[in-house]
Symmetry: C2
Subunit: 336 residues, 2 copies
Amino acid sequence: MSMVTLKDIAKVAGVSYATVSRALSGSSEIGEDTRKRILKLCEEMGYTPNAVARSMVMKRTNILGLIVASLDNPFMSELTTNIEIYARRCGYNLMVCNSSYDVDLEKEVFTLLVGRQVDGIILLPISSESYESLKSLTAQVPTVFISENLQDLPEDYVAVDNRQGMRIATEYLYSLGHRKILYFGCRSHSVTHRLRLDGYRQACESLGIEADVLYSPFSRSSHEAGYQLADEYFSGEHAHTAMLCATDSLAIGVMRAAFEHNISIPDQLSLMGFDNISFAALPPINLTSIDQPKQQMATAAVDLLLDRIAKPEAGHTSVIVPPSLVERRSAKQLSE
Amino acid sequence: MSMVTLKDIAKVAGVSYATVSRALSGSSEIGEDTRKRILKLCEEMGYTPNAVARSMVMKRTNILGLIVASLDNPFMSELTTNIEIYARRCGYNLMVCNSSYDVDLEKEVFTLLVGRQVDGIILLPISSESYESLKSLTAQVPTVFISENLQDLPEDYVAVDNRQGMRIATEYLYSLGHRKILYFGCRSHSVTHRLRLDGYRQACESLGIEADVLYSPFSRSSHEAGYQLADEYFSGEHAHTAMLCATDSLAIGVMRAAFEHNISIPDQLSLMGFDNISFAALPPINLTSIDQPKQQMATAAVDLLLDRIAKPEAGHTSVIVPPSLVERRSAKQLSE
DNA sequence: AAGAATTACGAAAACGTTTCCGTAATCCTA
DNA sequence: TAGGATTACGGAAACGTTTTCGTAATTCTT
């Protein structure tokens, strides 16, 4: 169980620590024959370098921290997967912490990760409040925020162009013949939600149709929230031919309500979501949505973070990635 | 950016390193007044203990490694979430690696984690092959397998009682009046799949009904596989009143095929899955399934691992957790 | 009040690496 | 072949902790 160390190798090979280290690091300051001899010995003795000791002297761990509200959330887990894979390719391992949608916990695990000496932290923040809450900490260690648009705040972040996404969605529904499009949002304080609503309004204006908005009283967008909101809506008068939801989760709740009210999607009502979470692609759901390019966001976040680690004092950067339409079967041409 | 260390504190306080260390660790070998003075100083100077240095001398990192085929898989991400939260409560952080369903990569990240000096590794293996492939490595570091039944192999593992689960499922469908129940499986080599099929067969036998099995040619159980298999099945003669799928993913594929063949679920056909992944609960899916208690499995795995870390030489243990039925709306009473 | 026990602290080693500096031995150059 | 440059290696410090051991100073015994 106890590991064989570099010292052990040195002892057996009859050389100094330095020489073994050089053999392993591919330094040029070593003879070709001794290198081979040492490498062979390492192989035979089953030597694995101790990354902790290495970190100690190098003053860097090659570990990145990731704080995520909940890996259960498919959007976040997709991002996480891509981040981990890309980070590893860049030579970094990932230490993951759930913040469980708790701002205090988010703060707690942040300092935990700092104590772990991670080289940088990627944050999938709970909401814009996270920034406020963490403001004093992000100076301690390179940090990039992901998925939440921080606008002009002095931070590095990557986000999708939410406004543009909703513009695309609205225009798409318009192109299908829809003129009465209802926007389903939620009363969240997040900038993301504000921008999405913005995009919808702007598109309506430039298309010359009326903007009509319904808010969920819940601040967290879930399918329960969508269900309740839609149930109420369907119970009253409803003249809209299409519904545009702020998130896929909301849309899935709408689907249930529609089913219970015997409203067929897409025959009687076209429905769209936003995020393109993996759920959306499932055959029984088949939700037309606006995709956030998760892989692109993941690599951008890692790149941004590694840049920041390399140049801690550089100016702050943000990457805005383009959304795209994913056509499925929840929205269709308005038949007259 | 550069951190304040224990040495800095000692210098300012005019005491030795040892005293500062004692103040922080809550040792009794220190005066109450000096302790308070030092703690206050640490607070003021913004001291954060360096976990790496600590690991170096303690010869333990308090880090657990987690190797998972893909966090995109909702079953695995649910497990991961629970593992992380519980591990953290036990004082451990989690280093997560995707094996991307690649046995070689699984092996590679395993050694990577060993080099990272993780105290133990939790493995959500790709298949039973993983055990073979990793056999030589699991001796190097405490390891527990999760979700795959390793039977009598010399390893620690936690798994659900797959056989019992399928028995419950079969009996449930029987209790709803179904006598012609088709089992949809996939030609995987995993023990899990064999045990599930076993459970179905046993239940059929003891209930005195005929067992009828259809295999997907694909070894990975996906909804695409389920769709293709079911599409073919529905195209031919199909006299069964209920279908029991080896996994929820397969069942979701069946749903799509059923829809396309104008077969209403559950009115014309009752459908069940296994795993109770989060998808299953979504309103448009609403799949009756057999639940694997993910939280219980997560905590059991962590507990098992911590036990193993504490007693590396103890005998191997396995924990088999009980499955349970989750009634939703994809299966119903057979109306005559 | 003298010896023993206890308390509170300092000195220093140790953990497994990397790297700086020094230095023999070999090489090249004129 | 003498001199300097280069090569190949060893010694030792350093990274930030924890912990063992030693020892003054204090407290407790009788």
